[in-house]
């Protein structure tokens, strides 16, 4: 299966790309709008700020490509900042794509960043999180999405309070943790994503 990794100049995509190869697909890293619009699955991965990531997407015209594919119900997976990019406004500054209603807020916890392995609580069973309830995955973030639409949050974790770990809304999916750095649990998530995107 062909998977496109949207390359907005926001850093190294090697780890995500390699993890997708291990999951059995053929990822390409691309700045091409048509490619990002049409591939069977698009992945937005990245680190840093929502603001610089959004600017990077816009500079390459990839924001429109993602909005168009979302409107056509073609699957999109956002990872970490890529997930935050699906939302509206971020407390960190900047605006996301507005595909997912709700803000991105700074974590309110004793230790921020939320750094390390934390157990997923699947709150809304789905193909994406099949077999992942209770498993530890790796988080490294200071901000998190707070979706306002009911039923969008499919998994959460506890870090001095409830933190959104994953969202799913039609053909849109987002994970706050790093599947490419989450050992066997992360590999399972990516395999589930491929299954989910084939049936989406």
């Amino acid at each position: 299966m062909r998977v496109v990794l949207a390359d907005y100049g926001g850093g190294n995509l090697r780890s995500v790309s390699s993890a997708l190869v291990r999951a059995g697909c053929e990822p390409i890293v691309s700045t091409d709008g048509a490619e990002v619009r049409e591939a069977p699955l698009a992945v937005i991965a990245g680190v840093g700020h929502v603001e610089s990531a959004a600017r990077g997407l816009a500079d390459h015209g990839l924001d429109d490509a993602i909005l168009e594919r979302a409107a056509a119900q073609r699957p999109v997976l956002g990872i970490c900042v890529g997930m935050q990019l699906l939302c509206d406004e971020s407390e960190e500054g900047g605006r996301g794509l507005g595909l997912l209603a709700g803000p991105v807020r700074r974590l309110r916890a004793r230790r921020v960043p939320h750094m390390g392995w934390n157990a997923l609580e699947v709150v809304h069973p789905s193909t994406l999180f099949d077999g992942l309830d209770g498993l530890d995955v790796y988080f490294a973030h200071s901000y998190a999405v707070e979706p306002t639409a009911p039923g969008v949050i499919v998994a959460q974790v506890d870090h001095d309070g409830v933190v959104t770990a994953a969202v799913e809304q039609g053909a849109l999916a987002g994970v706050q943790f790093h599947p490419e750095r989450s050992g066997p649990a992360g590999a399972r998530l990516l395999a589930n994503v491929l299954r989910w995107s084939r049936s989406a």
Binding site: R14, P113, G116, H141
Partner: protein
Amino acid sequence: MVKKRVIPCLDVAGGRVVKGVRFEHLRDVGDPIELATRYSELAADELVFLDITATLEDRGPTLDLVERAAGELTIPFTVGGGVSGLADARALLRAGADKVAVNRAAFEDPAMLTALADEFGSQAVVCALDARGGEVVTHAGRNPRGREAVDWAQEAVARGAGEILLTSIDADGTRAGYDLPLTGAVSAAVAVPVIASGGAGETRHLADAFAAGAEAALVASIVHERPERLRELKAELREAGWPVRS
């Protein structure tokens, strides 16, 4: 609740894992990715590659190693050791390191922490801090810098560091346990995770560091002698009631 982390630290030189005494008489003990993968299979939570020749030699082999590690490892890794400034740190992160650990360069140019955090996010920026008697030291402990470790840690976090890798030069190599007063003081003074480093000899030392406030503990010789010890350490911590990943 986020788990307490156990982090093996591998010394690398010229792209290979080495062992030696006081950075001399270095002996090649293997390929970094093979050893890292072994630790990953034994439930290491993260890895640190410490490039112990970086200030003396070209960065080329290290960047090759980082690119390979980014593609092949399935757990996060930090690269540190001799990071000379912003350009060096940026090159390591762009090559695919999840985090970069900056020591003396950040102490001498704290603004680089902000520049790195702005570009890559605070979660990618580790401030490595070596201390002796509560004072910041550099150059492998040879140069006292006349500043309280707690004070520098607070500034580093305010500047953008997302984690403190806190090494006690007093405890390092003793296997008598982490420097608990230092670990406790820094952990209480900052709101980012603190990684205790230096002095691990047995399981209860890690438990003591966690009790003092550390979110993670760095281990080196204790696991290098026999990597399977890592899995045992974590099982013993779990039996003692600490939240660790299996």
